[in-house]
Amino acid sequence: MIKVKFFAALRERLDCNETGVENFQGTAHELLDILKSRSTQWRATLEAQQVLCAVNQQLVPLSAEVNEGDEVALFPPVTGG
C-alpha cells in the first residue's frame, strides 16, 4: 500500500489528512490521476492549483517512481519563513 498525506489548503479542501492506495505501481503523476478519479470534488481540488509532491519526505517531480510502502505527500507551494 502507498500512504498518501495531504497538507494545508489541500488537506482542508479534500477534508482528508491521509489516505491509502492499494496495489499501485507507477509514477507520482499516475498516483495523482488515481486520486483525481475518486470523485468530481477530488478532481476539482487537485486540478485547481499547483500540487507539489514528496516521496519519503523528499521533494520530487511528478515523474518520480512511487514504490510499495512509500510515504507520498501532496501539498500546495510552501509559504513558510
Partner: protein, 152 residues
C-alpha cells in the same frame, strides 16, 4: 561547525541564540535574520497559523544548511522555525550564521532563507477580520531561490 535546527511551537530567545554563536574567537561576523508576523495591508490580522510536515521539515532544513556550508566558509548555523498559532509581531523564524568573514555570513544567511521559503514544507494561514485564508506562494520567492543556481 555546529548546526542547530529547531521546529517548535514555543517562541525563541533571539539574544540567547546570538550569544551562543558569538562565543567563538575564530568567527568575526554574525548575521541574523528574523521573520515576524506583520500586519496585512488594508485589513487587520487576528492570528496566523503555521502548519508543517513533521519529519520532512527538519530534513529539508538540514539539507539546506549543509548546502550553504559546502558553498561558503561558515562557523555555526542556527535555524529555528515556529509552527502553530501566532499573533501580530510574534517571531516566526530565525536564521543565524557565524563566519570568519562577513560576505560568507551574509550570503549564507540569504541562501538559507531563500531556500527555506521555497523548499521547506511550511504553510501559513492568516485569519483577518474578513476571514481565514491560506497565504499564496510568491513568484518573488521562487526568483530569489533561482538566483543561487548560477555561479556568481
Amino acid at each position: 561547525m555546529t548546526i542547530r535546527i529547531r521546529v517548535q511551537n514555543d517562541d525563541f530567545d533571539m539574544a540567547a541564540e546570538y550569544e551562543r554563536l558569538r562565543r567563538n574567537d575564530s568567527y568575526g561576523a554574525v548575521v541574523t535574520f528574523t521573520g515576524l508576523v506583520r500586519e496585512v495591508q488594508g485589513d487587520h490580522l487576528q492570528a496566523m497559523h503555521l502548519e508543517h510536515y513533521p519529519g520532512m521539515t527538519e530534513n529539508v532544513l538540514m539539507t539546506i544548511v549543509k548546502q550553504a556550508d559546502a558553498r561558503w566558509n561558515l562557523g555555526d548555523v542556527t535555524v529555528i522555525h515556529r509552527v502553530g498559532s501566532l499573533t501580530l509581531n510574534e517571531q516566526i523564524v530565525l536564521v543565524a550564521v557565524s563566519s570568519a568573514h562577513r560576505v560568507d555570513a551574509f550570503e549564507a544567511a540569504q541562501f538559507i532563507m531563500d531556500f527555506l521559503k521555497t523548499k521547506a514544507p511550511f504553510w501559513k494561514k492568516e485569519a483577518t477580520t474578513r476571514g481565514e485564508h491560506w497565504v499564496e506562494a510568491k513568484d518573488s520567492d521562487d526568483k530569489a531561490g533561482q538566483r543561487w543556481s548560477v555561479n556568481k
